[in-house]
Amino acid sequence: MASQPIDPKDEDLLEIIQLDRDDPQDAFAQRLLAILRENPALAKRYEEIRRRDAEIGNRLKQGNKLSGLEERILARLGYHNEATDNHLGSSQTLDVAHPESGALRSSLCEGGASPVVTSRVVTGAPVPRVGRRQWLRWVGALATAGAVGGLGIWVWQRRKEKPRISALALGNAATELFEATLDGFGTGRLLGRENPPQGYRLSRDVQVFRGTVITWRQVTLADLPAIVFDLSHPGGEKGSLFVIRLVLPDLPPMPPRRPCLRTSRSSAGWWQDNDLACVLVVLGGPRVYERFLAPPAPLT
């Protein structure tokens, strides 16, 4: 009985059907049950297969923890949230983040500081006579509110004038674009034969060797027009310098000697070069990144 040949499809059932997990009403599960009842040797084999399944499943799910993984993911998510927030009004962001506390805050403000006043308003008691000090307080509060409001409007207007993007967001966007468009690397116009549009230039902070091939392309980076200079060093190292006509207060005035951002494929760093925001992304690790930076000028 045990050596009876088994239909190859039934053989598959031993591997595929998990009687402890699959739907017992399933037609294949029913068929397997019938086979196992008829053939104790197969029932034993099935048990062995399920034992190995449990063992292999556990081994596959085990593994060492990768330290710092959560922090790195959250850092990248922070950039994305920030980029999303730029498309929303600040009031919307506040409402979504803390709707209850926002409402509570405003009702407390409207109600005034004194619980006595609140209770009087609620019970409909007559409003108390307003003294001189009270008037002064109100005038002071109004003046402060006006000043704060004016400042708010000024900040809001300035925010509308300038694109709100952080250095990190810009660096991330450039790195993503670099990795996503590697096929287009070096396919632009040869620098020297054709110059980039006025106002854009290759930063002097980038190292150029004899034999370095430089081409440039027009791209859109974080919804802004940009020029990317693709540099191929004689050793075969590749790097792109993204240049945007933008002044960002959180960009350092000179290129960092170590990359600010690393992925499995590339390294990136960013800085402000006068009126240009620069992001250098290279294919490779920190050592390649450093080879794309011109040696720092002497301090004196």
């Binding site: 595929i16 499943g57 790195r72 096929d183």
Partner: protein, 169 residues
């Protein structure tokens, strides 16, 4: 609303599931660097589409499915790194008796063709039934049954051979 039915925030998902997603990505890709990239991509996609998480209790399964789809999408792309069997040969040649179970199973897994590897991981890691696998991959049930059965047998055979190879004489 109880804790189980509350929509988790993306930060909570990262804290709870990042390591599991990373391990799954590592099993799929066979490289720590690729696995981290894949894990980051998974959570970026999850953050963008968190409204699609219908059952918060099934968040892990949802994230693993995103990881798998991202991996398959990448592999369909223009750049392919090392051929699977070449990678397995290289790793196998570096095998020694100090290798842990965890490494052996990774080598055995890497020796399988990508199609089989994905099915194996859906079965063992995602705890999916043959019907779920067929639905997810858009493959007929009969095809999944025969391919998965072959893949499981091949994995066990490879694992047994590797275990024998590193066992002390």
């Amino acid at each position: 609303m109880d804790e189980g039915s509350r929509q988790p925030t993306i930060e909570e998902l990262v804290v709870q599931h990042a390591q599991t997603v990373f391990r799954y990505a590592y099993r799929l890709s066979g490289s720590v660097a690729d696995a981290e990239d894949l894990t980051q991509e998974t959570f970026l996609l999850a953050a963008k589409n968190i409204a699609q998480l219908e059952h918060p209790a099934r968040a892990q399964g949802w994230l693993l499915a995103i990881t798998r789809n991202a991996f398959l999408r990448q592999r369909r792309g223009p750049h392919v790194t090392l051929l699977d069997d070449m990678a397995a040969t290289i790793v196998e040649s570096q095998l020694d008796s100090d290798d842990t179970d965890e490494q052996l199973i990774q080598i055995a897994l890497q020796s399988l063709p990508e199609q089989q590897r994905v099915m194996i991981l859906m079965f063992y890691f995602e705890d999916m039934s043959y019907k779920d696998i067929a639905r997810e991959l858009g493959v007929p049930i009969g095809t999944v049954m025969s391919r998965l059965a072959r893949a499981k047998a091949a994995l066990r055979k490879k694992l047994d051979a590797l275990t024998k190879k590193v066992a002390p004489v």
